[in-house]
């Protein structure tokens, strides 16, 4: 299966995902920024994407729309620190 892509600017969050996915034997790629992931899209594709919203540089929502433009079928899970969707959305 195609690897799961993780995009998060926080080191400890990336670590947790790396370990958890490894444990489950799921192929994965870890990115520090949306820009890095975007670049990888030139040559590779993802099975699924889990991305943080707020990151320095390109945010997760923008990455998602760019991804959808190229590979509309890839499922995307957006992670947010906000406790409810309403405020996460209104923050934008």
């Amino acid at each position: 299966m195609k690897p799961v892509w993780i995009i998060d600017d926080d080191r400890s969050i990336r670590w947790v995902f790396e370990k958890a996915l490894k444990r489950e034997n799921l192929p994965h790629r870890i990115f520090e920024s949306a820009e890095d992931a975007l670049q990888a899209l030139e040559t590779d594709s993802a099975g699924a994407v889990l991305s943080d919203i707020r990151m320095p540089g390109m945010d997760g929502l923008e990455f998602m729309s760019r991804l959808k433009a190229r590979l509309p079928k890839v499922p995307v899970i957006i992670m947010t620190a906000y406790s409810d969707l309403d405020s996460a959305v209104s923050a934008f």
């Binding site: 926080d10 400890s12 670590w15 947790v16 370990k19 958890a20 620190a81 406790s83 409810d84 405020s87």
Partner: protein, 343 residues
Amino acid sequence: MNPVPPGIDILATAVLILDEQRTIRHINPAAENLFGISAYHAIGRPLSAILKERTELVRAMDAALQEGVSFTEHHMLIESGDHTLTLNLTISPLEGELGALLLEFHSAGGSVKIARDEQAMAQAQTVQMLLKQLAHEIRNPLGGIRGAAQLLEAELNGADLSEYTQVIIQETNRLQGLLDRWLTPAKRPEIRPVNLHEVLERVRSLLLAEFPHLDIERDYDISVPTIQGDQEQLIQAVLNIARNAAQSLDGRGTVKFATRISRQVTLAMKRWKLAARIDIIDYGPGIPEEMQDKVFFPLVSGRENGTGVGLTLAQSLVQRHEGTIHMVSEPGFTCFSIYLPIK
């Protein structure tokens, strides 16, 4: 009779001249205006007829009389009829036939004392913002610690060792809960007509469920009109304050809810003709003087398990309604007053 210097009546400053018994000898047009009473009705009557003579005021007048010295009091809360005014007052002793005391009242910006003045408010907001940023920085590493503990636990064979990872997980949960309460911006308020007595009755039921031995008295002015606001948020704000009162009594004692109408109030530097006032009163030990200034800041809590965000949240919910919270506390009496403008 007593020749009043001609200048007094053309002054914009409100002036009263009293004799030794604090009977009004002269009142200038500015004072007639300020206190809403005509000279005809004021002259010859005691000072207490036009304004409430609070201890500090009486003390200042006595001191001026006895010591022959002038006093100026800043930001004095003066209750006159239905109005609560914030004024700067200069009291000067007089010699001769004119009278015994000269009182000059200057408007002090008319703000009902809450978080003191504009500068204090701005400071408080900066502090809150910094704390919010800090909380945000803490969130991710906390998630990392929790995740690592969970992964570790999955690798453990023995149940004894998982006790350690459980402690890590539970404590990070506790911290995350604190940050959640702190960081969650209140949802956009749904503005509808709200009956404040319904809000208070709901808070009363919730509070009695949590503190079954509490006695909650009501002193409602049912003429208080509905206000435009978000009912859930107002319930939350009132509940946080009332819960504080209940906790200070250890769940046993009397808390009183009162409602009144307030006229001509200034809330957060904006003037309103009418406002509703909710008083939450307890007769408990009171808030220690050192803490009174900081009571609305997050993380200030007198209790061991207190999260210290309840009053901060109440303050910000009330502010979203363009209202403010005023607090008075001394041993034996604490009163939080929530002012909400009636639009």
